[in-house]
C-alpha cells in the first residue's frame, strides 16, 4: 500500500528542490545539512519503490520516457545502497560545505535517472548532470590538488560526452526515434558501417567513465582528489554508470543486430575481441602502476581502474559466463572499493594524510578499520568466501572457456598484482610501527564502522552463497534475451570447466581455522612484547630517529625491472599531443597574428603571387 504515488518528473523535481532546501538550511543551521541529506536519500530509496514501472513526461515538445526493469533495479539499488552508506558516514563529517551536500543529492538522483531513462535525450541529460555535479563537488570540497584534478575530469568528461552525443545523434538520425524501444525495433535499418561507428563512439564515450585504458587518465587524479567519503561512491558507483552505458550500447542495441556479429573471433564479435584486449591491458597495466603508488588514495584509484578492466574484459567475451562475471564483478567492485575508500577516509580524518610512509601501526589504534580493511582486501584479491572470488572465478572460467589464452594470463597476473598493491596498502596504513605523532589517534566514529559492517554483509553473503547473486544476474540476462548461466544452486556454481561451492569452502576454512587455533592453544604460553621497540634488529635498540616503517619504495626492485613497461604512459602521450597542439597553435599565432604590417604585406604578396600563378596556369 503506497502512501504516495509520484510520477518520474515529480520524483526528480522533489529531490532537486530538496537539495536546494539542504543548501539553504545548511547555510543557516550547519549540523542539519548532512542529516537532511541522509534522510532525503532514505526517502529517495523508499519513493523509488513506489514508482511505476514505466512513465512518460513531456517537456518542451520532447517526450521523456522512463522505465524500471530488473537491470535498472540491480544498478539503482547498488547506487542507493552505497550512496546511503556514504551519506551515513558523511553525517559525522562536519567540514563539508552545504554546497557539497546539495550537489551530492542531485548527483545520486542523476545517477539513478541514468538507469531509469528509456530515451536517449533524458539519458544524456542525466549523464551530463551527473558529470557536472561531480565536477562541482571536486571543486567545492576537493583535496590538495583539486583544481587540476577537476579540470582533468571535466575535460575528459566533456570528450566522453561528445562521443556519446555523436553516437546518439547517429542513432537518432538513422532511425528517426530517440526512445529506446523504437530504436531497437528499427535497428535493422541502420547501415552496418554507421552502427559500428555509433557503437564504437558510445563504447569510447562510456569507456571514459568506466576508466578504460587509454581513456583512464582522469580517474586516478579525480578519485584521489575528490572529497574522501564521496570517493567511495565516486569510484564504486559512478564508474558503474559507464559500465551500464557500455552494456546498453553493446548488448541492448548492437548485439541484437546480425550484421554486427558477422566478424567473429573466439566466439565474440570483433568489437568484443578488442574490448577483451583493452580490458585485460587495463587490468594488468593499472595494477602494475598501483603497486608503485605512494599515496593511499592514488593506489586505490589505480586499483579501481584495474578492477574496471576486469569488467570490460568480461563484457568483451559476451557469452553467458562473461556477462554474468561482468555484472557480478560490477557489484563486487562497488562493494569492496567503497569499503576501502571509506576506510581510507576514516584514516585521513584521524591522521590527516594518506601518504603511506607517514602512516603505519594504526592497527593498535583503529582495530575495527583494520579488520574491515582485511575483509575488503580479501574481496579485492579475490579470496574464496568473498564476493570478489565469485565474480573473478566466473571471469577466469569465461576467459579459459572462450580460449582467450593471453588475455586470461594478463588478468591472472593482474590479480596477483592486486595482492601486491593491497598488501602495500594495508601494511603501510595499519601494520608496521606506529609513528610518534599518531599516538593519540582514535578509532573511527561509529558511523564509519557501522557502514563497514553494512558493506561486509553482502561481501560475505554473496561469497558463501554465490547462487543468490547469480539468480539475480541470470534474471537480468534473461530479460534481455542474452545468454545466461543456469548451472547454479544457492551455494554451488558450475561452469563447463569446473565447479565451486562457496559455503563448503567457508565451512572448511572455519574448521581449518579451528584446528589451527587448537594447535595454537596446545603450544606453550607466550609473553607480550615488552615495548614497541622490542624487535630483533641485529640486537640493536631502535629509537624514533630510525625510520623503521618500510613503506617508501616498497616494490623498488619490481619497479626497476618493469621500468620499460611502466614508462609507457597514456598521460605522457596526451601531454605530448597537447604539446604538439600548443606548438602548432603558437606557430600559427606567431605567423599570422604577429601584428607586423610588413609580414602581412609579405604574406599578401605571396598569396597574390600564387593566385596569379594559379590563374595563369588555369588560363593556359
Amino acid at each position: 500500500m503506497n502512501l504516495v504515488t509520484l510520477s518520474y518528473a515529480q520524483y526528480f523535481g522533489l529531490f532537486v528542490s530538496l537539495s536546494v532546501v539542504i543548501y539553504l538550511l545548511g547555510k543557516g543551521v550547519p549540523p542539519i545539512k548532512s542529516v537532511l541529506s541522509f534522510l532525503s536519500l532514505l526517502l529517495a530509496a523508499y519513493l523509488f519503490t513506489t514508482l511505476q514501472s514505466t512513465g512518460q513526461t513531456t517537456l518542451l515538445l520532447l517526450n521523456f520516457t522512463f522505465g524500471i526493469d530488473i537491470l535498472t533495479k540491480f544498478f539503482v539499488w547498488m547506487t542507493f545502497g552505497i550512496a546511503i552508506i556514504v551519506s551515513f558516514v558523511l553525517v559525522s563529517n562536519k567540514e563539508l560545505s552545504p554546497t557539497f551536500h546539495a550537489l551530492y543529492l542531485i548527483n545520486v538522483i542523476a545517477t539513478v535517472f541514468i538507469f531509469l531513462s528509456r530515451d536517449l535525450i533524458s539519458f544524456f541529460l542525466a549523464w551530463e548532470l551527473m558529470g557536472w555535479t561531480t565536477f562541482a563537488m571536486i571543486i567545492s570540497d576537493g583535496w590538495t590538488d583539486k583544481l587540476k584534478a577537476a579540470r582533468k575530469y571535466f575535460v575528459w568528461s566533456a570528450i566522453g560526452a561528445y562521443f556519446v552525443l555523436i553516437g546518439f545523434a547517429i542513432l537518432i538520425s538513422q532511425t528517426g526515434y530517440y526512445q529506446f524501444e523504437p530504436i531497437l525495433a528499427h535497428i535493422g535499418t541502420i547501415p552496418t558501417g554507421w552502427l559500428i561507428f555509433a557503437v564504437a563512439l558510445l563504447v569510447a564515450g562510456f569507456g571514459v567513465k568506466a576508466a578504460m585504458m587509454p581513456l583512464h587518465v582522469w580517474a586516478p587524479d579525480a578519485y584521489s582528489e575528490s572529497p574522501h567519503e564521496f570517493t567511495g561512491f565516486f569510484s564504486g558507483v559512478l564508474s558503474k554508470a559507464g559500465i551500464y552505458g557500455v552494456f546498453m550500447a553493446f548488448f541492448y542495441f548492437a548485439a541484437r543486430f546480425e550484421a554486427f556479429n558477422m566478424l567473429r573471433i573466439h566466439g565474440t564479435s570483433i568489437f568484443g575481441y578488442i574490448m577483451v584486449w583493452i580490458g585485460a591491458i587495463t587490468a594488468f597495466g593499472a595494477a602494475l602502476i598501483a603497486t608503485n603508488q605512494e599515496y593511499g588514495k592514488k593506489l586505490l584509484a589505480w586499483s579501481s581502474v584495474s578492477q574496471l578492466g576486469y569488467i570490460i574484459f568480461a563484457f568483451g567475451i559476451a557469452d553467458s559466463l562473461g556477462m554474468t562475471g561482468a555484472l557480478a564483478h560490477a557489484l563486487a567492485h562497488a562493494l569492496f572499493k567503497s569499503m576501502l575508500f571509506i576506510i581510507m577516509a576514516a584514516v585521513i580524518m584521524r591522521t590527516g594524510t594518506d601518504h603511506l610512509p607517514s602512516l603505519g601501526g594504526l592497527i593498535k589504534k583503529m582495530p575495527l578499520s583494520f579488520i574491515f580493511a582485511v575483509v575488503g582486501g580479501l574481496a579485492l584479491a579475490g579470496i574464496p568466501m568473498t564476493i570478489g572470488f565469485t565474480s573473478k572465478w566466473i571471469i577466469y572460467e569465461a576467459g579459459i572457456h572462450g580460449g582467450y589464452i593471453f588475455t586470461t594470463t594478463l588478468i591472472f597476473a593482474a590479480s596477483t598484482a592486486a595482492f601486491l598493491y593491497y598488501y602495500r596498502f594495508v601494511y603501510s596504513v595499519f601494520l608496521g610501527p606506529l609513528h610518534e605523532e599518531h599516538k593519540e589517534v582514535k578509532e573511527a566514529p561509529a558511523y564509519y564502522w557501522i557502514s563497514y559492517i553494512l558493506i561486509a554483509i553482502p561481501i560475505f553473503y554473496f561469497g558463501l552463497y554465490p547462487g543468490k547473486l547469480l539468480a539475480i544476474i541470470s534474471k537480468i540476462l534473461d530479460t534481455y534475451d542474452l545468454p545466461s548461466l543456469q548451472t547454479y544452486t544457492a551455494t554451488t556454481v558450475a561452469t563447463p570447466l569446473g565447479t565451486f561451492n562457496g559455503l563448503l569452502i567457508g565451512l572448511g576454512f572455519g574448521a581449518a581455522l579451528l584446528v589451527g587455533l587448537i594447535l595454537y592453544l596446545i603450544g606453550g604460553r607466550t609473553k607480550k612484547a615488552a615495548s614497541p621497540t622490542d624487535k630483533y634488529l641485529a640486537s640493536e635498540v631502535v629509537t624514533n630517529e630510525f625510520e623503521l616503517h618500510y613503506a617508501m619504495d616498497f616494490y623498488k626492485f619490481l619497479e626497476r625491472e618493469l621500468h620499460g613497461i611502466l614508462k609507457i604512459s597514456a598521460q605522457k602521450f596526451y601531454e605530448f599531443f597537447e604539446e604538439i597542439v600548443r606548438f602548432t597553435a603558437d606557430l600559427n599565432r606567431k605567423l599570422f597574428f604577429c601584428g607586423n604590417g610588413q609580414a602581412y604585406l609579405y604574406y599578401l604578396t605571396i598569396i597574390l603571387t600564387i593566385l596569379i600563378f594559379a590563374i595563369w596556369r588555369i588560363n593556359l
Binding site: I405, A413, N501, K535, Y550
Partner: protein, 300 residues
Amino acid sequence: MNAIGIQIGWIIFMPILVIIMGLLYLGAARKITARVHNRYGPPIYQNIIDVIKLFSKKRATNHGVMFSLGPIMAFSGLLISLMFIPIGNKALLSFNGDIIVLLYLLVIAPLGMALGVGEGANPMGTIGIARALTLMLGYEVVLVISALSVMLYTGSASFMKIIEAQSGGVGHWFLWPLFLSALAMDMALQGVLGEKPFDQPIAPHEIASGPMVEFGGKYLGLLQLYHAVAIVVETGIMVNLFLGGGTLFWWFVKSFTVFFIALLINAVMPRFRIGQAFKFFWTYPAAISLLGLILVAILK
C-alpha cells in the same frame, strides 16, 4: 551413510598423513642436502623433533592479535587448500573445486602470514614479504600459463577430470604431450617452493630469515607445519597435472621426486637478486610455457 563416514575419516586422516609426510620431506631435504655437501646430516625425522620442541617452548614474544592470528591463518589456509587437491586418487572435497579455486585458496596462507609479519613491524620481515610477493608475481604467470595449457588440453579445470584423462599408465601422462608446459611449471615450482636460487624472501644472511624474523616458539612451529603441508600441496599440483596422480603410495613417490629435483638444484645453487629472479621468471620459463600453450592451442 557409510560412504560419507569413510569420506570424513579420510578428511581427518589425510591432513595428519600429509603433515607427517611433509615433515619427513623436509627432514629428507636436510639429509640430502647434507649428503650433497659431503656431510652426515641430521636424522630424517629431525623436523618432527623440531616441531615438538617449538610447540613446547615458552614465552615466545607476541606482538599483538594479528601477529598470533597470522601463523594460524597461514596453517589453516594451507589445510583448506589441501582439501581441494586430490591426493592419491582421494578427492577430499576436490569434487567441488578446480585448479583456480586451489590457486586462490593457496593465497590465503601467505596473506595471513603477511598480515602477521606486518604487525610484527620488523622492517626485515616486511622486506621479506615484499620480495615474496614480487617473486609470486613472477612465478604465478608461469604457473598459470602452464595450468591453462592443461585446462585447454582437457577442456576441464577440474583436477579429477584431468587425472582421469591421464589414467592408463606412464604413456598417458600429460608430461609427454605437454612437455614444454611441464618443464616451465617445474621451473616455476622452484620459486613456489622457495628453494634456491629463489629463496630471496627468507635470505637468512641478508634479512635474518625475512618473514620469520619475529616468530619464535609455537608461532614458528605453526609456520613449520604450514611449510610442510605447502610442500606436499605445491608438488601435488605438478603431480596431478602432469604426472597422472596415482595411488596413495605412488602419489607420494611422484611428489617426492618432484621435490627431489628441486632439492638437487637447491643444494648447488647460489641466490639470485630479487630483481633477477623476477626477470628470469618473466623471460625463459614464461616463454617456454607460452610456447607450450600455443602448441596446445594449435594441436587442439
